[in-house]
């Protein structure tokens, strides 16, 4: 795709002051702002109910905004809906398909709905890329959950969108499909498609995204380059199950700021997973020297919930 340099610098999606209050009174979005760069993979991280799906639904035209504006490629989503909706493909979170239709006809139908003339060669390519070609005549109700997910992706790609939204793409997806899906996302990105995905999993965002946005309680808290954010989120915790419970932490271990839990049966140590020196080998050596034995050890990465708590409270202090 040929672009002038100014067009390339212009965000493909610009969300300004977007709010949504549902008829029941629930406020799902509070004046959200977001700029999505042309050709990037943006991951939106957030707990359930944070407003991820509402944000996507408004951009795609499924939900009316209460206030605020969204433009796609410079076109307003309400005034120029034909343009913006033709440019967007959406794979929603829920598996919703027309049970009695065949794979081929449902994907062809999607292409028609989005205003494109028939193109069997393109549909064939999409189905082959998603390993659905041998199922093209099967009724959707006879497919497995993973296959249905593939069908939904095929529907979203049927009209050759330039912006693709994947809402919780790895929910209930097996390893093989996840691998295929990520390969496909990378290929699409290579061809110039902008991809926005929502997820609960930091690992997923880490593996796929160029930038990560964090959304909580209807607000976009931050949008950062992945590498910068991962450093902030690098906090890890080591748990040692002791052979013998202890009543107090020996003074010789005070360098590590340990925490004694589970009635003196567990030692907890918080460290930076991205740091050169984690302090773990020296801690274990010192414990051996002191004759403190342990039965088991495990490390744990801060959960998203914990990260949110720290992000939101950091933000509150500023």
């Amino acid at each position: 795709m040929l672009q002038t340099s100014s067009a390339a610098a212009e965000p493909i999606v610009r969300v300004s002051g977007l709010s949504k209050i549902y008829v029941g009174g629930h406020q799902a979005l509070k004046s959200a702002d977001l700029e999505i760069r042309r050709g990037e993979i943006l991951a939106l991280l957030g707990p359930n109910g944070a407003g991820k799906t509402t944000l996507i639904s408004i951009i795609c035209g499924i939900v009316n905004p209460t206030s605020g504006t969204v433009t796609v490629d410079g076109h307003d989503i309400l005034r120029d809906y034909r343009y913006t909706r033709s440019a967007i493909g959406l794979v929603p979170q829920e598996l919703t398909t027309d049970a009695f239709e065949s794979v081929w006809s449902t994907v062809s139908l999607s292409r028609g709905l989005f205003g494109k003339s028939r193109n069997p060669a393109h549909i064939e390519k999409v189905l082959r890329d998603l390993s659905l070609w041998d199922k093209k005549d099967a009724k959707i109700k006879d497919l497995s959950g993973g296959m249905k997910r593939r069908v939904m992706i095929a529907k979203a790609l049927s009209h050759e969108p330039t912006v693709l939204f994947l809402d919780e793409p790895s929910a209930g997806v097996d390893v093989e499909l996840r691998r295929d899906m990520w390969q496909m996302v990378r290929d699409l990105r290579e061809s110039g498609v902008t991809i926005i995905l929502t997820t609960h999993y930091i690992e997923e965002a880490e593996e796929m995204a160029d930038r990560i946005g964090v959304i909580s309680k209807g607000e976009i808290i931050l949008v950062e380059e992945k590498t910068e954010l991962m450093q902030k989120l690098g906090k890890k915790e080591l748990t040692l199950s002791l052979s013998e419970p202890m009543t107090a932490i020996p003074a010789e271990l005070s360098d590590w700021q340990l925490d004694l839990r589970a009635d003196g049966n567990e030692l907890h140590y918080v460290f930076d997973g991205n740091a050169e020196r984690t302090g773990i080998p020296s801690l274990l050596r010192r414990m051996t020297d002191l004759g403190i034995g342990f039965k088991d050890l495990k490390t744990h990465q801060s959960s998203l919930e914990e990260i949110f708590v720290s992000l939101v409270s950091d933000r509150g202090r500023q």
């Binding site: 499924i62 939900v63 034909r82 343009y83 709905l113 989005f114 205003g115």
Partner: protein
């Protein structure tokens, strides 16, 4: 990338999808009106009709044909159009329709066009079946088809509204069974208003279905209980009221986008 000013591929996609849905149940869809019509003719036409005099110069069996067609046209139109839009809302597949570059007009054209095609087909099958039992003369065949089309469109629009208003499948049944079918039976589908004593005759004149059925019967036999211009006027009024409500639904996003 741009779709232009009219998304004909989108309209065709909805129309084909809906017609495909009807095709899956083609045989029951056509057997039901044929059997029902035959039953009506055995009961009303032969058993009761043989003891009836002519109504406005038309044999009773022939007299009830337009009413029978209307009864099925109303219920089929409402059922098919309401189910067509309610089902995607129920299963969630409506996300795709809402995110597609389709105007309200195009969406309605696809759904209502398909539902009207089906209900008109059923009405014409009833006409053909009735022809096996009685001689049906059609005084104004073109006007008959035009009137049939107008009423199919009206009631399919009405069904579309019901399909969006309904919160569940039971509610889809409520309007046709509790409102439309009684009004049709009481609206002179099987009798002339002249057969009614007062005050029922006057009360009946407040039922809009009376005018629809009489207008349609006029295209067959050139006679009606009410003025044909009045019939046409009320039919158009109902059509535009439905059109206005559908327009309001899309403008506000009622039960679709809120």
């Amino acid at each position: 990338m741009s779709v232009g000013s009219f998304n004909r591929h989108g309209v065709a996609a909805i129309y084909k999808f809906e017609m495909h849905r009807f095709a899956r149940t083609l045989w029951t869809g056509l057997a039901v009106p044929v059997i029902t019509t035959s039953l009506y003719f055995i009961v009303f036409g032969s058993a009761i009709g043989s003891r009836m005099t002519e109504v406005n110069g038309v044999s009773y069996g022939a007299f009830i044909v337009p009413g029978l067609m209307m009864l099925s046209l109303f219920t089929e139109s409402i059922f098919n159009a309401s189910f067509g839009i309610h089902m995607p809302r129920f299963t969630g597949t409506i996300y795709e329709l809402l995110s597609a570059p389709m105007s309200a007009f195009e969406t309605v054209l696809g759904y209502v066009g398909a539902a009207a095609t089906k209900s008109m087909t059923v009405a014409l099958v009833i006409l053909a079946t009735a022809n096996l039992f009685v001689d049906v003369h059609i005084a104004h065949p073109f006007l008959m088809i035009a009137y049939l089309l107008l009423m199919a469109a009206t009631f399919c629009l009405f069904g579309f509204i019901v399909g969006i208003w309904a919160k569940g499948f039971e509610q889809l049944q409520v309007i046709p069974l509790l409102v439309i079918t009684p009004l049709t039976f009481l609206g002179g589908a099987f009798y002339s208003l002249d057969m009614l004593p007062e005050p029922w005759r006057t009360i009946t004149l407040f039922n809009p279905i009376v005018y629809l059925i009489n207008g349609f019967r006029w295209t067959f036999y050139d006679t009606a209980d009410v003025a044909v211009e009045l019939s046409l006027g009320i039919t158009l009024l109902v059509f535009f009221v439905c059109l206005f409500v559908v327009r309001w639904i899309f403008k506000t996003g009622y039960r679709l986008k809120n």
